[in-house]
Amino acid sequence: MKDLLKVSGLTMLGASLFASLPAWAQDAATTTTEAATEAAAEAAPAVADVMDKGDVAWMMISTVLVLFMILPGLALFYGGLVRTKNMLSLLMQSTVITALVIVIYVLWGYSMAFGDAPSAYWGGLGKAFLSGVTYESMAATFTAGVVIPEFVFISFQMTFACITAVLIVGAFAERIKFGALLVFIALWVTIVYFPVAHMVWDSDGLIYGWGALDFAGGTVVHINAGIAALVGCILVGKRVGYGKDNMAPHSMTLTMVGASMLWVGWFGFNAGSNLEANGGAGLAMINTFTATAGAVLVWVVLEMMLRGKASMLGAVSGMVTGLVAVTPAAGFAGPVGAIVLGGVASAAAYFFVSSVKHKLNYDDSLDVFGIHGVAGIIGAIGTAVVNDPSMGGIHYGGNAMGAQIWIQIKGVAITIVWCGIASLVLYKIVDMIMGLRVKEDAEREGLDLTSHGERAYNM
């Protein structure tokens, strides 16, 4: 327990974690030369790696929490926002995409993202089908010599891929073709998500070394999903009746429940990204409280001032905005800085979805871009600000604020460009082959009956 109080729990985009990931404790024979070298370079070989069961317990429950964010969390958050006739379609999309991405992750996703290949763009297929991974395999954490079971690390990472994919569907909710969506997602995680994860998080990755800060995946998860969502909803086109029919959420109750579950689960997402149960995780935890609280209050106050009434949809929008914004900053900001970050992101997203979006005149049904994209970008760049000691941050990485802001902007930009172009191509391909959108009649009748043969409620 000697390292108990050492600095830990902090990370850098693409930092040492994944470089030393394949540092097997027992099963050295299965590690590749590259991995062995990396491990040797980073963890003094004389020190035996130790697994602390407290870390394992924390990472397992964190993994469960991220699943909880998706099912039922995100499914309900999204489902409550659509009209009754499309409720099940959102629940189905969330459920089946999660299942699909889990299977893909095991078959080739993990290998592509975190495999041993020395490429700058992907991890290769050496770990496809999780070959070589056993219950004795260990993955490194951010503290040298501290490891966790690789199966736990894989499970945790897998849930991130799932939630990113599910986030996208909110943009073209109420009109997407179910089968086409599944094909698109299978392609998208393969062509966009795994490579981006590799480029950003693996020591061999292209973006590795830029020194951008991203504690829990604001870029890979939220900006990625936000951009894919934006491109998607523009391509798919507006809903029939958009701007004319009343498309009010069919159950703000369920949306609030889903948002609450997102908050609850997000502690696994953010504090779990610390990979260890220590003070660093505690910092990520309290920031996940305070940034979110600040964002809720700002949205509520803005609505009270500008419209005279604070709405539930406003409060939960603020909530998600704060959570997204603090994701990259969770382990770097101080608790008060996090309040400010959440508040600023909330104000920006409020302004965007209630005004800018309408001028741009596209139909992002559930504001995936307006919330996740906008707050993701504010959060990514704002991380450089709140990380600064002047804002109470821990000054991770040690760069001056201005320099760090520039690094963050570059990281955001490359993600937007890569994800934007690749998503566009994939949507186009799927659209040509099978069509992305259901028939107008089916859209009118609702996807629940026409795509799934059921109704959400038979009261």
């Binding site: 009010a248 929008s317 307006g370």
Partner: protein, 112 residues
């Protein structure tokens, strides 16, 4: 016999039902409806998208009574449902030709 259809404010339902019972009404059908009229609806805003909700919730009563009771029913509803605010509702009276009680097969006034 007469069919009296009335649209009233939902929170007046219980009061009206009691008043009608007092004057001898022994049955009615109640439906929750959306009313459209001079009482204006409201505007809902969802993340900046405004929806005008033109309908206000109302309760619709249908009561079939003998011709002799009809006027008293109309009068009772009118006075009980009244709040003097816009949207208090309307009462319509129609002719009914025939009435049957399913259980007994009794007809017309006996069926009510």
């Amino acid at each position: 016999m007469k069919l009296i259809i009335a649209a009233i404010k939902p929170f007046k339902l219980e009061e009206v039902r009691e008043a009608l019972t007092t004057i001898g009404v022994r049955g009615m059908m109640v439906t929750e409806i959306k009313g459209f009229g001079s009482q204006s609806g409201h505007t809902e805003i969802y993340r900046g998208a405004e929806y005008a909700v033109n309908f206000v919730p109302k309760v619709r009563l249908e009561i079939v009574v003998s011709d002799s009771l009809a006027d008293a029913v109309v009068e009772t509803i009118r006075t009980t449902a009244k709040t003097d605010k816009i949207g208090d509702g309307k009462i319509f009276v129609l002719d009914v030709q025939h009435a049957v009680r399913v259980r007994t097969g009794e007809i017309n006034d006996d069926a009510l």
